[in-house]
């Protein structure tokens, strides 16, 4: 199928080019529908979130209260920081109006009059690109008061983060938007009841929102037939690591992982064999190179294989990769990014990294293998947000699938000779 999220159209980031290719048609169409009909269309399309959790988007929208005296908010999550993920950046750069159009339709469907697009601080250049696109959309009356001459009004604000992985977690994002430190909140209450500034809020990923205009233009039936039936639609897959052609590839969901690596990304460098693949960003459990057959890029297939779609950031590691070094780096990342609010995560991530460094130096004790697992198991599920889980999963999966790698890095026992001296 042809690319629809990142089509190969030069200068599509410019508003007149976007309009020339059918841009903002979906918004016109949506504004002629009832808001409930728009939500229903998205619900029936089976669109599932592209930010990592694969939650059904339409269903999420129905959680927003219809009768409320409070203002409602939409937060578009562009805090893309999961190692191995670089897809939303392509949307900001090459198709910003698709994101703006999707944001407007989502606002209309949920009766929202203010949307915040939260973009990570490191993407300063892309923040500017989005601001330019938004200014153009304002100038053409697609955004603002009485959009396209209807009674519907919505403001869109671009909000720049300042460097914190945790702000990609939806409740931390809301705190950050409020001007706080990015501390995740306890759920319940869920954002649809008590969100940003205590008001009903929906948080959707950038790529998720960018699917919405196509669903409105072509109908839910068309959309639901793309890719894997239970997790349909186009998906942006970022391939990195030891491949010949790393990059972001748009494809229908359900493409075999081996095809993604070999057909889309040009295969492994120097024709080496694959030792391991992280299929959906650093938090998703690692897969062995010899267990990739039949594993596809959709929620069910990944779950069956013992991993997850996550953000579809595929990291490929060839036969010569030092997996202990890779895991040590992952452990360091979670230690650095733990917000420090929950003790198991704050202390556990640092402890995991410390032990991993011992393995990296081949100075670990045999008992450290069980200790790693014990710590990971005690972090998982015992924290306010999923960062603790995300720190535990790579360790658990690596121990399950590559235990031999750890055993090889245990320091040989010192042989004591029974003469009193140490040999």
């Amino acid at each position: 199928m042809e690319n629809i999220i990142l089509p190969n159209i030069p200068d599509l980031h410019k508003i007149d080019v976007y309009e020339l290719h059918g841009g903002y048609k979906a918004l016109r169409k949506a504004l002629e529908m009832k808001p409930e009909e728009v939500t229903d269309e998205v619900k029936k399309s089976n669109l599932r979130g592209r930010g990592g959790a694969c939650f059904p988007t339409g269903l999420k929208w129905t959680f927003m209260p219809k009768q409320t005296m409070k203002p409602k908010y939409l937060c578009v999550n562009g805090d893309e920081s999961e190692p191995g993920t670089f897809k939303d950046r392509q949307i900001f750069e090459f198709n910003p109006h698709l994101l703006i159009e999707g944001t407007l339709i989502a606002c209309y469907a949920m009766g929202i009059h203010t949307a915040y697009i939260y973009i990570r601080g490191e993407y300063g250049k892309w923040v500017k690109m989005m601001e330019k696109a938004l200014a153009d959309a304002y100038a053409k009356r697609y955004v603002g008061t009485q959009i396209l001459g209807t009674g519907f009004s919505t403001e869109i604000v671009i909000h720049k983060g300042a460097g914190a992985y945790i702000c990609g977690e939806e409740s931390a994002l809301m705190n950050s938007l409020e001007g706080e430190r990015g501390y995740p909140r306890v759920k319940p209450p869920f954002p649809a009841q008590v969100g940003v500034w205590g008001c009903p809020t929906t948080i959707n990923n950038v790529e998720t929102i960018s699917n919405v205009p196509h669903i409105i233009n072509n109908g839910w039936e068309w959309y639901s037939k793309i890719g894997a039936p239970k997790h349909p639609g186009p998906i942006l897959v970022g391939v990195s690591g030891h491949v010949n052609k790393p990059g972001v590839y748009e494809m229908p969901t359900g493409v075999p992982l081996l095809d993604i690596i070999n057909k889309y990304a040009g295969g492994v460098i120097d024709g080496k064999s694959i030792k391991a693949v992280i299929p959906g960003g650093s938090s998703t459990p690692i897969l062995r190179g010899d267990q990739l057959d039949g594993v596809c890029m959709d929620a069910d297939s990944m779950k069956a294989a013992g991993s997850a779609v996550g953000t579809a950031g595929v990291i490929v590691m060839d036969e010569d990769t030092d997996l202990i070094q890779v895991l040590t780096r992952i452990a360091k990342f979670y230690y650095h990014e733990s917000c420090g609010q929950c003790t198991p995560c704050r202390e556990g991530t640092g402890w995991l990294w410390k032990i991993m460094k011992k393995f990296e130096r081949s100075e670990a004790r045999k008992e450290d293998i069980d200790l790693l697992l014990d710590i990971a198991n005690n972090v998982e599920g015992n924290t306010i947000c999923a960062l603790g889980d995300a720190a535990a999963w790579p360790i658990q999966a690596m121990l399950r699938r590559f235990r031999d790698e750890f055993e090889k890095r245990v320091k040989p026992e010192i042989v004591r000779v029974e003469t009193g001296a140490v040999a």
Binding site: F86, D88, G124, A162, A164, G179, P246, R329
Partner: protein, 154 residues
């Protein structure tokens, strides 16, 4: 401490958020743009400007990695060493930078020209290894390319 133009921008921003506290991040960005880093005085200034306690501003500045509470070099070289970059040779880039600039990661040169930092994933995994100087991403790095980029910086 902020220019008239920026103060005007703050007034416009106030209309876009239901609380003034929401302006903490945007205003801190402005401070850093104007002054290069956010000193204690700058934090106190933001606190009074937005009517939030200084302790809150201090908490925010120290929480987010991109806010600099100390002066940094004219060119801030931020090298990603996370997995995708690690697999594509970021270690070599780090060694080369440290050798060439005669300093370690996390240090600032005495002449305040350079600051070297190791950073987490910058979303440049398909074009690894990479570093960023200011807002500019430099991708698909090789040691030769690094030399060329650094040579071009005054």
């Amino acid at each position: 401490m902020l220019s008239q133009e920026k103060l005007q921008k703050i007034d416009e921003l106030k209309k876009k958020y239901p609380t003034t506290k929401a302006l903490v991040l945007p205003v801190l960005w402005m401070m850093q743009e104007e002054l290069g880093h956010i000193s204690t005085e700058a934090m106190k200034y933001v606190a009074s400007l937005l009517s939030v306690p200084y302790s809150h501003i201090f908490g925010v500045v120290t929480f987010y990695t991109m806010y600099q509470s100390k002066p940094i070099g004219k060119h801030h070289v931020e090298v990603c060493t996370n997995i995708s970059c690690l697999l594509r040779g970021s270690g070599k880039i780090v060694n080369h930078l440290e050798k060439r600039l005669g300093m370690k990661m996390g240090e600032t040169s005495k002449d305040m020209k350079w600051t070297l930092s190791e950073v987490e994933c910058m979303g440049s995994c398909g074009t690894a290894p990479m570093f960023c100087i200011g807002e500019e991403y430099h991708e698909n790095l090789t040691t030769e390319k690094v030399d060329k980029i650094l040579d071009g910086l005054k």
